[in-house]
């Protein structure tokens, strides 16, 4: 067998994943903290005032990365949910369910920071604009997935049901992203483009991109540490989990 495929096979086994992820988590947190510090320094100190919004625009360095993460994590959850449903891989179930609370947190941050930003810019905390609304629906979808997962007793059945819901809810992602294009809204359109030149000053752009990468690391670290705990709980009948518990007692 191809060594890469072999490695994936090994990664799918819970004890191996547990140890592997345990080694990665501290590095991810370190990367997140360092990149976050750089990005915030760039955003809060180095980047110039916006000629229209003054300093209020500096919320962008957390609002936009959180917004991107809310969408990215949902897609991640849905993809893992799909794998869990079709191939019944336990690790995918765990990853999908571990991603949901992190995604909900980022969605909440996006909504809250957007609302705070909206007060000085639009003169209101909240309007029923298409982007804002669809982002709120996204939060409810996350909460629905989490709620469904915790409402069913059998952990694996719960994971499959919640993954199914996540798959159904994926229709909301394009609505969130393209809402500014499809309906004319108060919220501004895309300024950062993946292809072609972006529409903002590069001194504002690079801290934003650094923050976007930092939040990716936050997600990865949080996801892995959640998945580790979930695996430990799921496999509580297995030998390796008991050994882990005894080892933890020894360390304490």
């Amino acid at each position: 067998m191809n060594p890469l495929v072999l490695w994936f096979h090994k990664l799918g086994s819970p004890p191996y994943f547990y140890r592997f992820a345990g080694r990665l988590v501290p590095w991810f947190w370190a990367a997140a903290l360092i990149l976050g510090a750089i990005g915030l320094y760039g955003g809060l100190v180095l980047a110039p005032k916006d000629y229209q919004q003054g300093d209020a625009y500096r919320i962008i360095f957390i609002h936009v990365p959180s917004a991107w993460m809310s969408l990215f994590i949902y897609a991640f959850m849905a993809v893992n949910g799909f794998i869990a449903l079709v191939w019944r891989i336990k690790l995918s179930e765990t990853l999908a369910m571990a991603a949901a609370p992190v995604g909900a947190a980022f969605t909440f941050v996006c909504l809250a920071t957007g609302a705070i930003w909206g007060k000085p810019m639009w003169g209101t905390w909240w309007t029923w604009d298409a982007r804002l609304t669809s982002e709120l629906v996204l939060l409810f979808l996350y909460l629905g997935v989490i709620g469904l997962y915790h409402a069913i007793e059998d952990r694996r059945q719960a994971a499959r049901a919640a993954a199914f819901l996540a798959l159904i809810g994926i229709v909301n992602l394009p609505i969130v992203h393209f809402s500014v294009k499809w309906w004319n809204t108060l919220h501004q359109g895309s300024t950062v483009k993946l292809f072609g030149p972006s529409l903002i000053d590069s001194r504002m752009l690079w801290p934003l991109l650094v923050m976007a990468i930092a939040t990716k690391f936050v997600f990865a670290a949080s996801l892995l540490s959640r998945a580790r705990v979930d695996l430990l709980e799921l496999e509580s009948g297995k030998e390796w989990a008991r050994a882990e518990a005894d080892a933890a007692e020894g360390r304490a």
Partner: protein, 227 residues
């Protein structure tokens, strides 16, 4: 030995569900009464001025019908689950999705259709402007089956739980929002004398799509949640 046809199975299911409905005909009227009462509460809650009421009439009717439909959803599979009929249905040799489509159809027939029928009356109670009436009817005709279909998928996911009422609402409402937006869009357009074709077409497209996909999704969800 006769193994029965798919059509025969659907007919048997429809006949049984309608017979059950007739036996419980008191219950069948309840969603309608509920919607009526929600609508009736509004004049108390915001005062009786006709122009305010007329402005919010279509929206209130939509929300009332949506809530009534939502509340009756829980009963869709509940009694079948409790007496073991659902297991027999899943174990039947015919495609589950089609059998479920029959059940959803009966649900729509008995909870949504009466609601559509009384919509003009309810609109009248809230001083709904005359030209909006036919649009409201068209909107209801298109959106209530859509709501039943979407709701059935969610209810299939929660059917194994003991106390699912509120969780179901949490799951269903975000999915109902897009339907509500288009439905309200059509009504508002009519109220302002604008063309209403676009939102109605969107609703129709959604209905066509979910007519095909929702029963399949419902069957898949049900298999997950009864296991």
């Amino acid at each position: 030995m006769s193994y029965g046809t798919l059509w025969g199975a659907c007919r048997a299911l429809l006949a049984r569900d309608l017979a059950l409905l007739w036996r419980r005909r008191g219950d069948a009227l309840n969603p309608m009464l509920f919607a009526l009462m929600v609508v009736a509460l509004f004049p108390f809650a915001i005062g009786p001025e006709p122009q305010v009421l007329g402005r919010i009439a279509a929206g209130t009717v939509l929300v009332a019908l949506l809530l009534a439909g939502l509340l009756s959803l829980d009963a869709l599979f509940r009694s079948d689950l409790e007496d073991g009929s659902l297991e027999q249905l899943v174990l039947s040799p015919h495609p589950l999705a089609l059998l479920l489509a029959c059940k959803i159809f009966v649900h729509w027939l008995t909870t949504a259709l009466p609601l559509v029928a009384i919509a003009p009356l309810v609109g009248e109670m809230l001083f709904l402007p005359g030209p909006v009436q036919p649009v409201l009817l068209a909107v209801l005709a298109l959106s209530t089956p859509l709501l039943s279909l979407i709701g059935a998928v969610c209810v299939a996911l929660t059917v194994g739980m003991r106390r699912s009422g509120m969780l179901l609402a949490l799951l269903v409402l975000p999915l109902y929002v897009p339907v509500l937006i288009f439905a309200a869009g059509a009504c508002n357009a009519a109220q302002n004398g604008l063309p209403v074709a676009a939102p109605l077409l969107w609703l129709g497209a959604g209905l066509a799509l979910s007519l095909v996909l929702a029963p399949l999704a419902c069957a898949a969800a049900l298999k997950i949640s009864i296991s």
